[in-house]
Amino acid sequence: MDSELRSKFKDIGKVPSYMSYLGLNNEIEKLKPSIEKERIKISFLRNYTVEPILPILKCELFKSGFLAEFYLSDFDTIASETLNTENDFYDFNSDLIILTQWLRLLSEKITSSLFKMSEKEREDETLRIINQFRLFLNGIRANCDTPIIINNFPLPKHVVLGILDHQTDYSERKWYNKLNESLIELCQEIPNVYCLNLEAIFNSVGIENAFESRKWESSKSPFTFSALLPLAKEYDKYMRAIFGKTKKCLILDCDNTLWGGVIGEDGIDGIKIGGTYPGSSFQFFQQQILNLNHRGIILAVCSKNNEQDVIDVFENHEQMKLRLSDFISFKVNWEDKATNIQSIANELNIGLDSIVFMDDSEFECDWVSTQLPEVTVLHLEGEPVNYSSRLFEEGYFDSLSYIEADKNKTDMYKAEAKRKQLHSNANSYEEYLKSLDLHVNIEKGNKKNVDRISQLTQKTNQFNLTTKRYTPGQIEELIHNNDYDIFTMQAYDKVADLGIIASSIILHQDEYSVIDSLMMSCRALGRGLENAFLTYIIESSKKRNKKRIRGVYIPTNKNKQTEDFYKKNNLKRVDQIEKQIIWELDLTENTSKNYPNWITINANNN
């Protein structure tokens, strides 16, 4: 993004208006051919006017690194577009499908008789609506596995029974809530379908401010700008989560960020943390950071201070919620912050684009933005009461999975740092690897690891041969499909358990096997684990008496390091179909390969 456009985006964040979005949208259109961004196609299947959201959505997605193109269905063609196979909708080849219907157009009864209906009638109406959605979703799934978002339904502003409504069995609002619950159940039933909480957006904006009855009546366009903006941002959050742009690491300044005041001047008893305002706000901010940490976000400190002063606060100030052990990297020195952030990224082996940096100093924020434009910089302005919402409002850390192991992320990265220490003590790399006493457990996909497999497909960008994303539902289906094998690899060494760090999905056809997906978490790289895993996959294919095994590589901006992976493992390049490069190994020849001698393999595949 050039600097002019960047500053316009900054302004639009401060005082958003529909006009400024239209202007920015025009500029993006003008620059379009020369813009190097991930191009994505989004389809709207809808029964009302969604057009006003498009300029806002395009700008918000642009900020996240996407250049979007849209397809809009006609008002009453969702059935024919989803259920017929040959039409413009399927030809468009969407990367994301948004299925959004306005309830009043789906159900005549909700305005005429909901409050009079018997329980049975109410249930029937829910079922009728859900079944219609199910029909469309299954229709799409029969043709493609593109991710789908459906919007749930906002509650009505007025209900016939008024103050009595929520206290009776005839309640309209209760019916809406049930309908929304059924919609979520439907989403869980069909792979790769997510339910966007439009009702929550209406609540947070206020129904009064979100819905425009005049525009609804005149042009079937229900939303005000106040609702369009958060809705566009919500779609953007889904896009980032689906397409692997979730942030992994939060780097924090200290003075006037984690506590009020300057430690070097005010001293440990003078800084404001806990107690009354503003100390209470800083404490709440710290608590929310800690919550993010327990959700799997790793933390680091980058502060210009005397290191001992800061350590003293983290160790000895009893009002602190964050402690030294919560941080994976601690850069308290007088170096410039861009250099420090770069070295944190190197230490952790994560991309700059997966880092969020928060600081109260405008100077530091500008410096980091210009030096490291890929880092997301959040300038903490104004009152500390607003700090904690900055953590959540843009959804930088939102992802579509949440599993038990997320809590232990920090420990895993710490163990990695300890290994680096061992490494620097060893004479050779191989000696180091041997000293680790590395073990792996290879397992088939099962109930227990299905969420982790899905998470690996969703979050792994660098060591990922095909970057195909799968939901837990899809993985579960493949587990029960005999044509497929799914393997996971868990690794542990004398330092720590790394957990499940790799997974692969293999499709077995008549004479050959195809490695549909193969990915490994980047914190496990550099130990030859990926080669051991591939060797295991090849051996298992031999056991199935396959003649050949094929590996697929699909290049992305991020996975260049896997370009030669199959080549290095003796597969030969045999074909290229569009972006897919196909590698092959003849299993009838004697191609037995040994596992690296520093790895002990345990396979438990019954």
Partner: protein, 79 residues
Amino acid sequence: MTNQDKLKQILASVFNITVEEITNDSSPDTIENWDSLNHLNLVLALEEEFEINFTEEQTVEILNYELLVITLREQGIDI
């Protein structure tokens, strides 16, 4: 910026043209992008920028530059 300038700026943004291209005769006949969808966007943008609310009748009436000016005056805008 006068309100005339502001109006032209809005038209330029909504229809993706330059301010210079807007004349007293501008209408859907002279501006290619002035279709029903962009008209909706125009109404949204005008209401927001001038902090007004058109009546339903007005939103269908404002179909050229002069009518826009007249209608904005009716809404109490000094233009």
